[in-house]
Symmetry: C2
Subunit: 285 residues, 2 copies
């Protein structure tokens, strides 16, 4: 049996009781290690689970899924995923391959940033399409997510921005030379995301866009979330301009651009800001 | 300390290890009992947790929140919520009151249908605004969610429909007489939701709407989900027309109206249908 087990968001104890039982009875336990991270390392998980974990990086899962699945034919195998198993496409792919090979599988759900983002007080029902913001380089600055944010804010909806993670990436030089030397992991901060977002509207203005036509401006209310679900979780509500210089500490970060606000949402966000003028210009529901 | 603890979706063992520890050390443990249900009853939870649970219905939470909070001033109190604590506004309200009374609180996240719905294979990133479908009566048929679905499908996005739950509701007669006699609980099925959805487009057609202008038609692909996260979870992908006569068994149900589909999404949905013609007319991403 193949078990795909969500680990939740904070530390080792965020696993469910059901998930822990499954890990402890599994003969092999893989830890997915490239779409997200917990606030604790592999060793802390191994100690708590009482099991050795096999790190499954992108190469392994994409190229050696057969090995993982072959094991699951004859014994219990767990594949551990930070958050919930259905946050990333890769796990769907593993599940489809299991089904093709007629290997029974079972999914153990857990919290994901996709629902836990609600802890900032913005109602999940009022979110539009989620967007992903990737690291820009000097000559590669994709901004296709801007139109999605615009479509959301036009409807008064909040936008959850998932921020880029670069794990086990090769420099272009090493890639060209075929050298498997990896860059240190990088995680986009809410501040950096805010800077990229503001750079986009600068460009729109140069192209002739009026401020009233923009998806957001420097004054828009946004919420930065860091290490959601852990003991040192941090949430800050402020303007996009101020977010560019707000340090939320270590990863992972998320950023939400607020749409229209319900008075209860304003009340909740007030817990996370010291800027009492923040809500002066927001549209209330 | 007030702990607001998510229980996840299936049975007693879907609680996190952290959540279980919190419950076991709490002096009082309340079980929220009106926005959702687990597939097991209060007794099964009490046995597994080794704690007596106090059922907290809508009356109690809205009118006697002070009692819950007063207890939390001097000792550890847990307030248990099916799914994740931030699925419903009421829990936000409790948290705000705790903050006002300067009572420290802590939130233990868990899976919610808002993220676990991804188990049907539709990518969470491709969902638009979530809508709620309420039980219609003969003379009260609200359909304001239709425009939201239209806005989603116009953008090719999926729509997650949360289905109505009526727990501890009074009949109008008993309400008028001030009698606290409650109707048996009712949970909307995916079939009933599909019937209401199709009634709306019948009305739109009478009003002159062309099929190409509708948010969906009888042939639209939809996915019914029942008891997500439990051992007898059921997922069926079919047309909205066929969903009206599809019995998914006991509650809770959810319904998703598909937008444009990624080939990987089609492949996943194929696991949940015996209708091979289902995807003939869908727009692929």
């Amino acid at each position: 049996m193949l078990y795909i087990v969500g680990l939740g968001l904070g530390d080792a104890k965020d696993i469910t009781v059901k998930g822990l039982e499954v890990i402890r009875k599994s003969e092999k336990v893989y830890l997915e290690a490239y779409t997200s991270i917990l606030t604790v390392g592999k060793e802390a998980l191994e100690e708590f689970y009482g099991k050795q974990l096999i790190l499954a990086d992108r190469d392994m899962v994409e190229q050696h899924a057969d090995v993982i699945l072959d094991n699951a034919k004859n014994c219990d195998v767990s594949f551990l995923v930070v958050g919930d198993p259905f946050g990333a496409t890769t796990h769907t792919d593993l599940l489809l391959r299991a089904r093709q090979a007629e290997i029974p599988y079972n999914v153990i759900h857990n919290a994901s940033i996709m629902n836990a983002v609600g802890c900032c007080g913005l109602q999940l029902y009022s979110f539009g399409e989620t967007v992903s913001i990737v690291f820009w380089t000097d000559d590669w600055k994709p901004d296709s997510f801007y139109d999605k944010i615009l479509a959301n804010t036009t409807r008064g909806l909040h936008t959850h921005c998932l921020l880029d993670i670069k794990v086990k990436e090769q420099s272009i030089e090493n890639l060209m030379r075929g050298k498997k030397i990896y860059e240190p992991p990088r995680y986009m901060s809410a501040a950096q995301a805010a800077r990229q977002l503001l750079e986009i509207i600068q460009k729109k203005r140069v192209e002739g866009c009026e401020d009233t036509e923009l998806a957001y401006t420097e004054k828009s209310v946004c919420v930065g979330l860091a290490r959601v679900g852990s003991d040192d979780q941090r949430i800050v509500a402020t303007t996009l301009q101020k977010m560019t210089t707000t340090d939320l500490g270590p990863p992972l970060h998320s950023l939400v651009i607020a749409g229209h606000l319900h008075p209860l949402e304003v009340e909740m966000l007030t817990l996370f800001t010291d800027d009492l003028t923040l809500f002066e210009n927001v549209v209330l529901l």
